[in-house]
Symmetry: C3
Subunit: 139 residues, 3 copies
């Protein structure tokens, strides 16, 4: 059985870290799938998906600092010379983090840890409305 | 068909890199699934899963050095001010590496390369007993 | 239904970024699967898979620069002392990027963004012929 939903999330961009666990939980419950895998996939190339303990320190500071070290916002990017825009760092960060995440479902529930939430990280330089595919395959 | 197992692994923390390929192989063989995808998912937010050539240089030194560069153990983390603990770097590293990995199964076998092993990297600052979901979907 | 194909790609190594979207599109169309998930998996431990906007700036310069910062080509790697070779950085980069990517299929099409392509990044230090598993599960 394959059930596909889209999740829509408004972000502030600029490394905004958003807890999307409840959106995914809702899709899992509504799917009636008891055992299977949910695949999350961000449509677009300036945001990514992973998990973290969603608390203000990590969400607002620490994750941002790590990406600023890997691909600084104000470094020079050839991408920006191609398009004359300002989000080269956003593209590089998103490619590194990756757009997809797979989470098993057991007994109709996501197998996340207690302090483990599913997050969208939006690296773009302006507020965006993101569409995330949420596809569940199972029985 | 969906088959789900849990894999339990004891680690030393501190960027311990553990070859979990045989655990996954065993689950694949026992599942009797000949064609499908195995999804591995680490429960918890201070460890991640990927592949590498499992040899002492990469496992004990090189992977650790790269993560120390990205998120140094002794830098300041807002996470540590939230909880008064010492594992901010572990959370950041785990979010970057990601908790999940998907590997196709063909003819009842994982499609890994000869020098490619599935590894758990435990970034926490103390020994942990990890639970990894191992879910196989296929025929 | 499970359909598995192999995709073969010749690379130049050295952080060569290759757009493999059309290969995956072809496999999806030929599978006749209308709703499901495609799992891509690079066999081998010196290349990885992700998505990006495939344009010359990102593909030829910016992604390379980020990986050169994380795991510089000419740093010292314990891996190179184990095998007396020169690709320690390639292994570290590939483990960080990860070998697998999952993309949902809806109405027989990959749910990629308009400016989002599936890329193979080959970190090895010489031209390689890569085999990528392309496995589609769905209805």
């Amino acid at each position: 059985m394959v059930k596909t939903e889209t999740i829509t999330i408004k972000t502030n961009g600029n490394c905004d870290v958003i807890d999307m666990t409840e959106h995914v939980n809702t899709a899992v419950v509504q799917s009636d799938i008891r055992a299977g895998t949910v695949t999350l996939f961000n449509i677009g190339s300036t945001a990514g998906i992973t998990t973290t303990e969603y608390e203000p320190g990590l969400a607002n500071y620490d994750i941002k600092a790590a990406f600023e070290k890997i691909a600084p916002e104000h470094a020079r990017y050839a991408h920006e010379q191609t398009w004359h825009d300002d989000n080269g760092h956003a593209h590089v960060r998103a490619s590194l983090l990756g757009p997809s995440l797979s989470v098993p479902i057991v007994d109709g529930r996501l197998t996340l840890g207690t302090w483990q939430q599913i997050i969208l990280v939006d690296f773009d330089t302006r507020p965006r409305t993101r569409t995330i595919m949420c596809q569940i395959i199972g029985d």
